[in-house]
Amino acid sequence: MNRSGVRGMLRSPFVIVTGVVLAWFVVTFLVWPNANLLIATFFPDGTLTLRAVDKLISSERAMRSLTNSFLLAVVLSVTVNAVGIFIVLVTKYFDIKGARLLWFGYASTFIYGGIVLAAGYKFIYGENGIATDVLLRFFPGLDPAWFTGFFAVVFVMTFATTTNHMLFVSGALGKVDQQTLEAAKSMGASDWTILWRVVLPMLRPVLFAVTILTFLGGLGALSAPQVLGGREFQTIAPMILTFSTSLTSRDIAALLALVLGVATIVLLVVLTRVEKGGTYFSLSKVSSELVKQKISNPVVNVVVHVLAYALFAVYTLPVVLIVLYSFVDSRAIESGELSFGAMSLDNYARVLGQSSGLRPFIVSVVYSGLAAVISVVGLIFVTRILSKYRNWLTTAVEYLLHIPWILPATMIALGLIMSYDHPNLLVGNIVLTGTTVILLISFVIGKIPFTLRLLKASFASVNDTLEEAASLMGARMMYIFRRILMPAVLPTALAVGALNFNSLLDDYDTAVFLAHPLFQPLGLVIKANTDGAVSLDARANTFVYTVLLMVITGVTMYLVYGRAMRPGKGRRRRAGRGVLPTSGGASVAPVPDASTRPGAGVTARTATQPSAEVA
């Protein structure tokens, strides 16, 4: 890593061009809209108004929601880790029968999430849900509305957010050196001791990072509390949404968002501190691949198998039922019946047959695709500079690029509207509201921090000497970039692109503010279909949309990760191919990119393996 100063950096035309574009983008879309929003809410006429603070403090509901959000975050940190670590262990560490099948089940959260997932769980465990029906048969005294409130939210979010574990903890586990396990075994350590004292401590940095992500996810949870929380368990994010739509109450929304933002900043600072504490990798160049561990105690073995398959059922049930229900008619859905005789393609014919049926899909696909491509391509250039030059300027820029992580999507959308609903020189005096670009811009903004962290980690894993060697042979900067760096970061870039694409497909929060009315993406349509349930067909339509959505995300995942997921392909992937979050996945790690910090002894040594870094 090059610790060159700002002046040296600015000598490169590549840096200057990228820098100017970046500076404009940061000022125009990250700093100004949000600053503008805060100023407008807290300094409406030039003086500080604390009306919102007073209102919030005196509102019992708001305070309770705040408490609930933090409670949810804390509880999820425990439950998500418990489940997440368990599923990673049974798919990647222990020798469990059918681990591959289990993996596919647990991976269902890759293909659906957010409002769609929450609705799916509710459909099954809710009042008329099929699972509730079954439970009632065994426990007639059960309250049919048992699946609501704190418990339901925690339950759903626990299973919905293990994606990070599947991605990052799996990846880190894959890099644990088999020989350390054997060393421990030869010293008489039991399965449990090895797991607890050797393996988990090695995963500590990535677990910490994932815990923080989980915590933040809990803090800002929107759809699950909205769908399942009921009145007794309300949280902040839905309140922000409620208040931000009304002009008069916007300051309250901004204040709540600030609370979330401050909590996020504190956590990120802690994370950075802890990152400095070090990551653990195999200390040597040669490490042997982890071999699945047999659980020696037969009773424990059976228990773990049973648990693993029980979780499998929890993970897959909603998906399977959503797919099945998408084929039955609306009435059957309403009553929760499921008979194979009643299945037909009518729902699909109705949704796709409507002139407008396919349109939201295409709109969503195009928006998500463009946003994914723009964010990844743009940030490849930016990250390249940020990771090559370390100085106060690049550090500052890097911090600024994290703004979208600190503010909820809703606030960012509002900031954009407020700042660009009139001609503004920053964007060439074009009014952005009412155009199709503004949603795209906000999609791109939202994906910046995640993309940046992952790409940075990926760049850090490229051996510096490769670049030096190429430049000695006379290669120009762009050529090196294209021929040496790009191939090394491409797998990560594709993976990040795919994840971005998928996460934007069913976006609702941003689209509800910014979508062009003629180009409404899927999220709005799905939400509209669930609202009020005026028509019986609406719910059936939602199932069809959900299935199609899962198909799209599934196909995307397959295109990017497909080759490696295919079963029976040799014993293992080749080293240095580890881009898949599924196994090698290291290169895809959001926060936990300890490898990006300069000169860490241990990491520096491992950094010779291409794209194999990061906790």
């Binding site: 030869s186 350590a189 200390l283 040597s284 241990v602």
Partner: protein, 357 residues
Amino acid sequence: MIRYENINVTFGDFVAIPQLDLQVDEGEFFTLLGPSGCGKTTALRTLAGFVQPAAGDVHIDGRPVTRLPSDKRRVGMVFQNYALFPSMNVWENIAFGLKVRKESKAEVDRLVRDIARRVDLSDEQLEKDLAALSGGQQQRVAIARALVLQPKILLLDEPLSNLDAKLRGQLRIQLKELQAQFGITTLYVTHDQDEALTMSDRIAVFNHGRVEQVGTPQEIYDQSATEFVCNFIGDSSRLTPDFVAQVNLGAGSDLPLERSSYLRQEKVGLQPNPALPRSAALDGVVVSRRYHGVHSSYTVSSHGSTVKVMQREDGTVQPRVGDAVTLHVNPANVLQYTPDGVAAATPDVAAAEVTLR
């Protein structure tokens, strides 16, 4: 002490070790030597209990241990990459096994510090993170970690291959000294013949999962039992039948011509050796010369053979490329193998010894 009996190891369809019989004596520094992929590690891991043989038995101290879990075999292992626990500091790494045994706190600390002192790790190094240690220090931690449990056998799998050449040289000596000091039976795996020859009491040369030869370093070198061993160890030239015939002619020996014949580069001279009067003198031309400081390596073309010759740089005038030279060869030093690769007859050691006298 250690006995491999009819061991067969397979991985799926792949036979890593077809049949292994091997005996290691108490207190011995015994080396498994061979090119990489030949099954050395597998043999070692079979002893440690990480690999279950498909057939055969492993005995330690006369007792079969094949079914025993690895921690019950009383073997300590130093892994190729040390396999130190990165999440623990030095002290914790060494203490790990003791803690597993639930030794008292005080006892753990005493034993850890004791072993650390013996492998030359200072008290302050004990508190360090592994990343702060050099490769050599890490290795000592790994050894201390293995030895602190007082194993009967120490297993070392290429412990030096991770290090740079100079350190490797130093550690070779240290390792050997440590072994001598502890007097522990040691099974050492390496692909480096220098390491094997300098450190071992005895060596087993492996090839494709089979033992080609077991013997002292000198036996292995001077009396390579198979063509493979001959090629793998040291530097030798393959001789043409024409060349061998000339040797027979000059020295009055009767080496069979149809066998594969080799000549080690230091066993042929450009000057007659007065200590070896029964040598044959053969004409040749210098094809190339490589200067090494202590010596030079010559390639001499003679009677259809390309013969490598090591010539001490003792200050005398040396021949140059293109010069006609005379090769002095003692037929006793010609190694010969039947077409199936086995040594035809023990080379005429007696004759060599006689001449040495």
